[in-house]
């Protein structure tokens, strides 16, 4: 398929609005009479509020109301109402100001509403609380023995324990990933505004406006037609905004209590009272023959969730997709701690599970004295052994080849500590990445005007990934219009139905919704074109014409065309508007995944242990790439995050108090510019006619998967020291 826009490195269509400040975020909407909220957060991890005294706060001039569990407006009392679209199946979702129980540190316990933010914040400091402190548990290691098994899709194959016991080469080790927080740039914020007729509009930071809209209707017993949720722009989500967060409940509570518009912006510290990537202990047991073929794989994960909900993703089982092994058995356990419910965070499950798997594969390669790429090729699986199904496409071999070549892997001396650059040890490591290629049903509306301008709209959020841009590209392509003539409206719950933005599914999801809706438009245009006297398209069927270059054009005979504007004028049409839902069903008989091979170079000062990640090559096979520029940025961002995961990120708890002691972005480290060097992204060609008509697989998450393992493996190669608990700080090397 020759294309004009699809596959081109178009710059972000929302870029100018963002860099000029025109793009408005949840806390940017100003309305007359706006009130400002401030949250008082708990300072214990578990217990009860014995007494709460808000009199001094209420006495502050400018304070309009102080809400607590004792005086808040009514909220739903059944768990079902509190279960948003992506809530964990099991458990009782957190209800802010629900009752006197404290379930985690930084839990909101009072909400001050005032005429200005400074007053609200000041008044919050005057609230007196007496707690019954039941001393919560926040330590995964301490709670490990009480962890329970949660069911996962993968089934045991053969007898893994027996095969492992009798394997020629065994690797058995435990890996640890600490709790990590998303730390998006934009703070979570909501502005709840009353409109005429008692309708409520909520400007919200979320990855799914319709999810929040349904949730608010359920929690507050509001009619759907009376609630609108808007989130046209988002300053970073990464999974943190999949579920409605407590600030939106408080903002609406405040608006109900005061009958005025209310804005609440959380503080950076309060952002650490939301979801997070759960701390996870991963045990990997690999049994192999001397030739590198695997006999047994066992992957056991134990992850953190809250005391009230069971959140888990798939850490285990990725090995069944990647590596042939006749015997396999995995378990996934959850430990309930006195913390908020863990949540999705970029490649949930895979970022952690594949870190452990790919570190273990590296250790196995060392034990086998085999090149790590060679080992992976030896074990390469052409099917998902869990499902016993082939892939719609899997060009992982090409990822290994092209990545290794771009990196210069063949020059690697396999011996640890064998490569150096002056005072620095040099390490080269690699890892495989794997993620899902998902798609959801979704609708879009296309309104084509007689002047040749089209507006495409749906409720989807662009969380910064480039959804606006790729939608404009696909729509311009499908409608045969210049991209400048296409405008996109997103992030409004009243627009056509789309799922939350997550799981890397949005590109495939909205592109196909545009495809089917544009086909409807095309049908109407052809009908209009046929009405022209002596129409050159008089005998064409809809499937035999395309929209191209502003015209309806015969496929067979491209000289037969009718200008779109002409057809609409002739038919007396000012506007053609269509809304179609793409009822997507995943292809049967195949599994669908994205893959990558990550190669990393580290340079480590031999005497001091200072670690620099000097080069990363990430070769990705993810089907059709709609926009190499925005897709490349997704992979770059994933690699940067992988560097942070490997070297920097850790939410530090003092378990005596159950408190996070680095709840700020000075002390919670993410990579600084100085930590980032050369990162090369390669998109391996991967035509895939099975996964969906466009062959789109999605790239939002694959970039991080494997990155931390590649770096950890490079650090081992440089130093001969294997650090299995992240982050790899220099003190762990010098132990």
């Amino acid at each position: 398929m020759s294309t004009t826009y699809i596959g081109t490195p178009a710059s972000r269509v929302d870029g100018p609005a963002k860099v000029t400040g025109q793009a408005k975020y949840a806390a940017d909407y100003n309305v007359p009479g706006l009130l400002y909220g401030a949250v008082l957060s708990s300072t214990i991890a578990k217990g009860r509020i014995r007494r709460i005294d808000t009199r001094a706060a209420r006495a502050v001039p400018g304070v309009v109301d102080v809400l607590t569990h004792e005086n808040r407006p009514k909220m739903a009392e059944n768990d079902k109402a509190w279960k948003d679209d992506v809530a964990p199946e099991k458990g009782s979702p957190f209800r802010p100001l629900g009752d006197d129980r404290v379930l985690f540190n930084e839990q909101p316990v009072a909400f001050v509403i005032a005429e200005d933010w400074e007053t609200a914040r000041f008044a919050a400091t005057l609230i007196e609380i007496e707690y019954q402190n039941d001393h919560g548990q926040t330590d995964l290691e301490a709670a490990r023995a009480k962890a329970f098994v949660v069911p996962k899709p993968e089934k045991p194959r053969g007898d893994a324990a027996k095969a492992f016991a009798s394997a020629e080469i065994k690797h058995d080790a435990e890996y640890f990933i600490p709790t990590e927080h998303h730390n998006p740039m934009e703070l979570f914020a909501s502005t709840a505004v009353w409109e005429e007729g008692g309708k409520l509009t909520v400007y919200e930071k979320t990855q799914g406006v319709q999810n929040v809209q349904r949730f608010l209707c359920n929690v507050f017993g509001l009619k759907s037609e009376n609630v609108k949720v808007m989130s046209p722009y988002m300053g970073g989500g990464f999974g943190a905004g999949l579920r409605p967060q407590y600030q939106v409940v408080l903002a609406v509570l405040g608006a109900i209590a005061t009958k005025r518009p209310v804005r609440l912006v959380l503080t950076r510290q309060q952002m650490y009272g939301l979801g997070y990537r759960p701390a996870t202990i991963e045990r990997l047991r690999l049994g192999a023959k001397r030739d590198g073929s695997l006999d047994a794989m066992m992957h056991d994960a134990t992850a953190v969730t809250s005391s009230f909900e069971q959140f888990s993703r798939n850490d285990t089982g990725w090995g069944d997709l990647l590596y042939k092994a006749p015997n396999s058995k995995h378990t996934h356990k959850l430990a309930m701690l006195d913390v908020p419910t863990s949540s999705d965070m970029r490649a949930p499950g895979a970022a952690t599970g594949v870190y452990a798997l790919e570190s273990a594969m590296d250790e196995l390669a060392v034990a086998l004295k085999m090149d790590p790429v060679e080992l992976r090729l030896r074990c390469y699986s052409d099917k998902d052994q869990n499902e016993n199904l082939p892939y719609t496409s899997k060009n992982l071999r090409e990822c290994y080849e092209q990545g290794a070549q771009a990196f210069g892997w063949e020059k690697r001396n396999p011996a640890p500590r064998s490569m150096r650059d002056g005072s620095e040890l040099v390490g080269w490591g690699m890892a495989t990445g794997v993620w899902e290629a998902l798609q959801m049903p979704a609708a879009v509306r296309i309104a084509l005007s007689a002047n040749g301008h089209a507006e495409i709209s749906c409720a989807a959020s662009d969380i910064g990934t480039g959804t606006y841009t790729i939608m404009a590209q696909v729509a311009a392509e499908m409608l045969g219009l210049p991209i400048e003539n296409v405008s996109i409206r997103l992030g409004d719950s009243s627009l056509p139905n789309t799922p939350v933005e997550g799981g890397s599914w949005m590109a495939a999801t909205v592109s196909h919704a545009i495809l089917v809706t544009a086909n409807e438009i095309k049908g109407d245009l052809l009908a209009a074109a046929k009405k022209i006297n002596g129409s050159p398209l008089a005998h064409e069927n809809p499937e035999d014409v395309v929209l191209s270059d502003g015209s309806i054009m015969s496929r067979k005979n491209p000289s037969r065309t009718v200008r779109i504007v002409e057809a609409m004028r002739e038919a007396g049409l000012d506007r053609i508007e269509k809304e179609k839902t793409h009822q997507f069903e995943q292809v049967k008989g195949y599994v669908h995944n994205t893959h990558s091979a990550v190669f990393a170079e580290v340079k480590i000062d031999e005497e001091i242990g200072v670690i620099r990640v000097t080069r990363v090559v990430n070769a990705v096979a993810a089907g059709r790439i709609l926009n190499p520029k925005t897709a490349g940025s997704q992979i770059l961002g994933g690699v940067v995050w992988g560097i942070g995961m490997a070297l920097h990120e850790e939410t530090a708890y003092d378990h005596r108090f159950g408190r996070i002691m680095n709840a700020n972005i000075a002390e919670y480290h993410v990579p600084a510019h100085a930590d980032i060097h050369d990162i090369q992204v390669i998109f391996v060609d991967e035509p895939d006619g099975r996964v969906n008509p466009f062959g789109i697989k999605g790239v939002g998450e694959i970039g991080i998967v494997g990155a931390a393992a590649a770096i950890a493996n490079a650090i081992y190669h440089a130093t001969g020291v294997r650090v299995r608990d992240l982050p790899i700080t220099l003190d762990k090397l010098n132990r």
Partner: protein, 338 residues
């Protein structure tokens, strides 16, 4: 955050008058640390006295051949000042190793001396901390103490001073000029910051109503043989685990005078006259550097999470002395250690 009054001082005398009249007041210059502490309710000044417009922003030569740096000279300006870059490059380097460009643009020379520790318990009012709330206890002793002191600590407080600039100033033996109700005086840099002892809430020997007016550098700037190296958990914008400022005066490959100060190890920049004396008159050799480092760290003692600092400090001292002796100082923009 607690509401506060805001006033501006018109001159130094007015600033002293105002702070004497309002015991709960604080001076504010760049505010890069104070405002954060106010947001976290750690500092609750009733009044802020803005001194940022006082005419203390000059870098001037002194009669003795040194430099007098006004207390309000921004960290960025100071680090790029031609006289600092040429005569005191170790100071320029140390400043550039600290914080971020944006913070250095705002932060003042005097304020840098007065910044508070980064101990997490000091910032979290839900925990006890003797520095924040005297007598409440030290949560770091048996808590998260990876970044904490290995020298000079007391059971009351194991926090470290976070400044990079001060480590270089300690090595350079700067003097701190202060003014108060009883007039002006100088404080030797080594006497400016205090060890925690039983009074960790008092960071410095600056009087309650005194203001820093200038920092004076003596003529000796070790421009030929110096370095500043900073070891931290990421390559920029992180506080030091260990920092070393070195100044050497060399005669051939022998050391005539050696000075080195460490950051990230104590409640104040730490020096050891014994360790420095052990290098005087000696060859600049790894063996001698190791000896000096061993003397320096003889009394070092760590806690559950920061024991690694002792060996890391040893290695860092040896490396820094090597860099300085070779005349190959660390360049802060280059993250590879030389």
């Amino acid at each position: 955050m607690i509401n506060f009054d805001y006033v501006r001082a018109t001159d130094v005398a007015d600033a002293i008058r105002k702070i004497s009249a309002t015991p709960t007041a604080k001076f504010i210059a760049g505010g890069t640390n104070l405002v954060d502490l106010m947001k976290d309710d750690v500092e609750r000044p009733k009044t802020l006295i803005d001194i940022s417009r006082l005419p203390l922003d000059k870098v001037e030569k002194t009669a003795s051949g040194g430099l007098r740096i006004g207390a309000l000279v921004p960290n960025s300006d100071l680090s790029y000042h031609p006289l600092i870059a040429s005569q005191y490059p170790v100071l320029a380097s140390a400043i550039q190793a600290g914080a971020s460009q944006q913070l250095r643009n705002m932060a003042s020379t005097g304020g840098n001396l007065l910044q508070r520790t980064r101990c997490a318990y000091f910032y979290d009012t839900a925990t006890s901390c003797n520095k924040r709330s005297p007598g409440s206890g030290c949560s770091a002793l048996e808590g998260l103490n990876r970044i904490h002191a290995i020298l000079g600590w007391s059971p009351s407080c194991i926090a470290v001073h976070p400044s990079d600039m001060c480590v270089a100033l300690a090595m350079l033996e700067a003097k701190v000029h202060v003014s108060g109700p009883d007039g002006a005086r100088e404080i030797a840099f080594a006497d400016f910051h205090r060890l925690p002892g039983e009074t960790p809430h008092v960071d410095t020997n600056l009087g309650a109503h005194e203001i820093i007016t200038a920092v004076e550098l003596p003529p000796q700037g070790f421009a030929r043989h110096h370095t500043y190296i900073k070891i931290r958990d990421r390559l920029s914008y992180a506080f030091a685990l260990i920092a070393v400022a070195v100044g050497l005066e060399m005669e051939g490959d022998s050391i005539r005078e050696a000075r080195f100060a460490l950051g990230g190890v104590a409640h104040k920049p730490w020096r050891s006259s014994e360790a420095e004396a052990a290098l005087a008159g000696q060859k600049a050799s790894r063996e001698n550097f190791e000896k000096a480092a061993a003397i320096f760290l003889r009394d070092a003692k760590g806690f559950a999470h920061n024991g690694f600092k002792i060996d890391l400090a040893r290695r860092a001292i040896v490396r820094a002395l090597t860099q300085a002796a070779h005349g190959t100082p660390q360049v802060q923009a280059i993250k590879k250690l030389r």
